[in-house]
Amino acid sequence: MGRIAHAFLLLLSLALPQEGAARFLSSDPIPADAESGYAFNRYWYADASPYRYVDPDGRQSMGPSGYGFYRPPSNFFSDTTAGRFLGSVLGDPIALARSDNYNPITREYPGPAALQDAKLGLLTLAIPSVRVGRVAAAGIADDALVVRGGGNMSPKGANSPEGIAAGSGTHHSGVSGFSVESANGATLCQLCGNLPHHYNQVGVTTAGAIRSAGGDVLSTSGQSATHATVTGLSPQAASALMTPTRNPVPKP
């Protein structure tokens, strides 16, 4: 089997489960880790990766040995040398073929500059003896935490449907939605520390969960370097995704 054909089969195996990410209707009793944010989405099954992990009683995912452990999200293309090589060659050109620019290989949303680079990369592929370099990708990855201050029980809570509707507007960049804090690799504490106001309670989810629900989260300028905007979700759907979590950062 050729390398390209193999790469596309791998691509299919990664992309298809994301399309129909099934979830439970009731929340997982295992609480979120305050520092890493692991298990913050209490509606996920088996780390949202049933091909890699099992979750016999729905409480906590386990590896094939049956021993529960913490693992950051990972995949072939980011965790192995061969995967990184294939991703570097095929990565952003894949995004060019999608209407939403999502890149299932790098699991990122390339910015306009990266997509332009990718187009140039495709041109160079068509010209023999021209070396193809790594195409940089930008954007918030699926496994990035998304934090929004406020509770969701009271109708005036910032994570209630009413609160999300009140906070929604059109950012100067043209993105319509509501404000959150999110950045690749940022911890729950870091994101809570960047909130402009101390909230006793915050809502937590991931970029991947938002995308699985049909929305998106985009980095937008704001009061902090991790300011982002969630777009494409109804206030009700967004509120349901925001798992209520005690703010781990003490009030100053």
């Binding site: 005036k156 910032a158 009140a166 929604s168 402009p196 106001h197 309670q201 704001g222």
Partner: protein, 143 residues
């Protein structure tokens, strides 16, 4: 409107036609968890200030295509940065004598409550503006 800070709406900035003021500076000073709990201190600024600021920011930021403009960074040029900081400092100083307090979640919305800044507010306003943090809304409108 040119926004200096943004979270669920503009937190600080300058805009035209704000509650009877032709050009105004505004900054959030108090914020509670509930969505109607935002109090802004506002003051009228000299006409032409917004255009002058837009001219300065246009040197280092792409020209705004939308009404609300949120430059990610303050101007890199020291003279431009000084212009912006002087504008903010003067406006904040004038809040003490000519300012208005508005309670509204979004600065563009019709305020739930409003009143003029009075002498007894000054220590609290100064403390909030100096700290860069936000006060609670308790006590600003209800004794």
């Amino acid at each position: 409107m040119i926004a200096f800070d943004y979270y669920d709406g503009v937190l600080e900035g300058v805009c035209r036609d704000l509650h009877g003021m032709r050009e105004a500076y505004f900054t959030l000073i108090a914020w509670d968890e509930e969505v109607d709990g935002r109090i802004f201190a506002t003051v009228e600024i000299n006409e032409g200030t917004i255009q002058a600021l837009a001219d300065v920011l246009s040197r280092t930021h792409s020209c705004p295509e939308r009404e609300v403009w949120t430059p990610r960074n303050r101007p890199g040029d020291p003279d431009d940065a000084a212009f912006m900081e002087a504008l903010i400092a003067e406006a904040r100083h004038r809040i003490r004598t000519e300012g208005m307090l508005l309670q509204a979640f979004q600065i563009e919305s019709v305020p739930v409550r409003s009143r003029r800044v009075v002498k007894s507010d000054l220590a609290r306003i100064d403390r909030m503006l100096a700290s860069g943090k936000y006060d609670t809304i308790a006590g600003w409108f209800n004794p």
